[in-house]
Every structure is written in C-alpha cells, then in structure tokens.
C-alpha cells in the first residue's frame, strides 16, 4: 500500500478542544504539513491568539507564545526583529485580527514584517458565544445582532486582504476557504506561498481562511460548509491579492 496522506507528526496526540466540525483543525493540519514539508518545524515560533485557538500550542508541536487579544502581530514583530532566523507565524481569528488587533495587523503589513499571518474568518466571535465580528455578513444573526447585522447600525463586513493588498509592505496576500477538499488543497498552495514570502525574506504575508462556526451558526457542520459556499464566498471571494516575485 502506498501512503497518500498521513497525519503530520507535528500535530500532537492531544484531542483538539474545538467543536465537532470546526475547521480550525484543518488550518492547524495545513500549517503542520507545510512546516514539515519545508523543514521549518524546529525554527518555528507560533504566536497564538485569544479566541477558540487560544490553546493552539496544545495541538501543533512548535515553540509558542500566547499573545494578548489583538496583539499577536506586535508580539510576532518583537520576536522576528530580535531573532530574524526564527520562522514566526501569527495565528489569529477575525475578532482578534480585524477588530481589536487591526492596528497591529495593518502596521505589521505596512512595515513589511517578515511574519506570516494565518487569519481565520468564521464571521463571529466563537469562543465568547457567537457575537458579531467585523466580518459578520449583512443580515447575519449573532448574539449581539439579534435582528441581523444592519449597515446603518453596525457598518459593513471588513475585507482584510483587499485592504492590506493596497499597502507596499506585503509580499503575499490571499484568501482561501476551508469548506471543501478542493478549496483546502488550494488553501495549502496559498499558505505555501505565504511561508515562502517569509522564508525568502520578501515581506509580510497573510492568508485569510474562510472558516465555519457550526455551533454558533446553529447549523450542522455539513450545513455550515454549505453556507460558506452559498453565502460567505460571494461576499469574501477566494483569490490572491498580492503576489511578489519569488513566493512560488
């Protein structure tokens, strides 16, 4: 028998603390696979955020630090600037990065920090119980938009890659989705380029990963993945927004 896929060794034996069907685990696996394939495991420090992935270091076996809410890009900057030989990943959710940490994210991007941000967008604050996030869709019901998100009250969903792509600092910016095997294969391709951007010292890199939150969306995992395709991707289209030479 030929091995087609094998769970990466960098994924620990510990069961994840995520809800059934939560795509955080998919993103974790993609990171672990690429770190192994690119021989980066021993150089890597992952900055974990506040949110459902706060215990991420339980699941990916690399050096790790735990940032305050929204401060992962600043902390990653501190590590990378003082230890440029380390491979530094900031793993952040949409509340963490696009709301409380938007300043840190934008400025890290503008400075062209040699860090890679994995940005998980599931359209709400998962850990705290499904409140509105900057990425919540218009009309979407959350625990703090019980009547649906209304532009006149809550403004519009934020498109982080599109915003960051306007800056000169980033070397690679893309949006992928974790809803289907095909999109997951593509997400890995994007993430590989983002890792290359750092590895080849080209600049800041970020991959947004459109994710689901079946529990707070009050859907089955399968329904949640369908909702991504039907409702989320039309608002947050998949694609590469900035591709510097040398990330391939």
């Amino acid at each position: 028998m030929k091995l087609i896929y094998k769970k990466p060794d960098t994924i620990t034996k510990r069961d994840t603390t995520y809800c059934p069907g939560c795509p955080h685990g998919i993103a974790h696996r993609l990171i672990a696979e690429l770190l192994e394939e690119m021989d980066l495991v021993k150089k890597t420090v992952i900055v974990w955020p506040v949110g459902c992935s706060v215990f991420g270091y339980y699941f990916i076996a690399t050096d790790a630090v735990e940032a305050a809410h929204g401060r992962a890009c600043a902390m990653a900057t501190g590590i990378k600037r003082t230890h440029p030989e380390s491979f530094v990943i900031s793993y952040q959710g949409d509340g963490d990065l696009a709301s409380i940490g938007i300043a840190e994210a934008v400025h890290a991007a503008a400075r062209g920090e040699r860090i890679t941000v994995v940005y998980i967008n599931n359209g709400n604050y998962g850990m705290t119980g499904g409140q509105m996030a900057p990425t919540t869709l218009i009309g979407q019901i959350t625990t703090t938009t019980p009547y649906g998100r209304k532009p006149e009250l809550n403004g519009f969903p934020m498109h982080v890659p599109e915003m960051l792509a306007a800056l000169d600092g980033p070397a690679y910016i893309a949006r992928a989705a974790l809803d289907s095997p095909q999109h997951i294969i593509q997400a890995k391709k994007f993430l590989r380029k983002a890792f290359n951007a750092q590895k080849n010292n080209l600049g800041f890199s970020l991959v947004e990963m459109i994710s689901a939150c079946p529990t707070n969306w009050k859907m089955t995992p399968v329904e949640a993945m369908e909702r991504i395709r039907k409702e989320v991707l039309p608002v947050f289209p998949i694609g590469e927004f900035k591709v510097a030479k040398g990330v391939e």
Binding site: M1, L3, C19, R29, P181
Partner: protein, 75 residues
C-alpha cells in the same frame, strides 16, 4: 485487503464532514460510541474506496490518520 483509510476513532467527533465529501459514499457514521460519546466515522466499503483522500483533507480533528492506495499489481 488492508484498510485504505485509517481512522482514529477516539479522535473522531462525528461531525460527518468526511461522509459528506466522499465521492464514492464508502464512509458512514458507525453505531459504536467512543469515550467522548461520539459515534466515530467508519469506512464500511473498503473495496470501492478510491483513496482520493477527501476525507483526510476535510477532517478537522485529524482523526483520519492515513490514506493508502494499493500498489498496482505487477504483471
């Protein structure tokens, strides 16, 4: 024949995503129950599995530990 998909039943949370993406419908949620109270997914039709790995790709709990393909028979 050896199993083409190796599932760690203790890790499975019965989310059903692997079942939903399997193009050959060879996976299902079993009657068994793991220590967390979930019914793990199982490969019930090994023969018709094409080792595409879709289940591995979508599994959020890394419960699908291996996907293997039989070597072509030498003539």
């Amino acid at each position: 024949m050896e199993k083409k998909v190796i599932i760690n039943e203790e890790r499975c949370k019965s989310c059903g995503l692997c079942v939903s993406v399997c193009p050959k419908h060879v996976l299902r949620i079993s009657d068994r129950i793991n220590s967390k109270g979930y019914h793990p997914a199982e490969l019930f039709d090994n023969e018709n599995c094409i080792s595409c790995g879709f289940c591995y790709l979508i599994c959020p709990d890394m419960a699908i530990e291996e996907v293997r393909r039989p070597e072509p028979v030498k003539k």
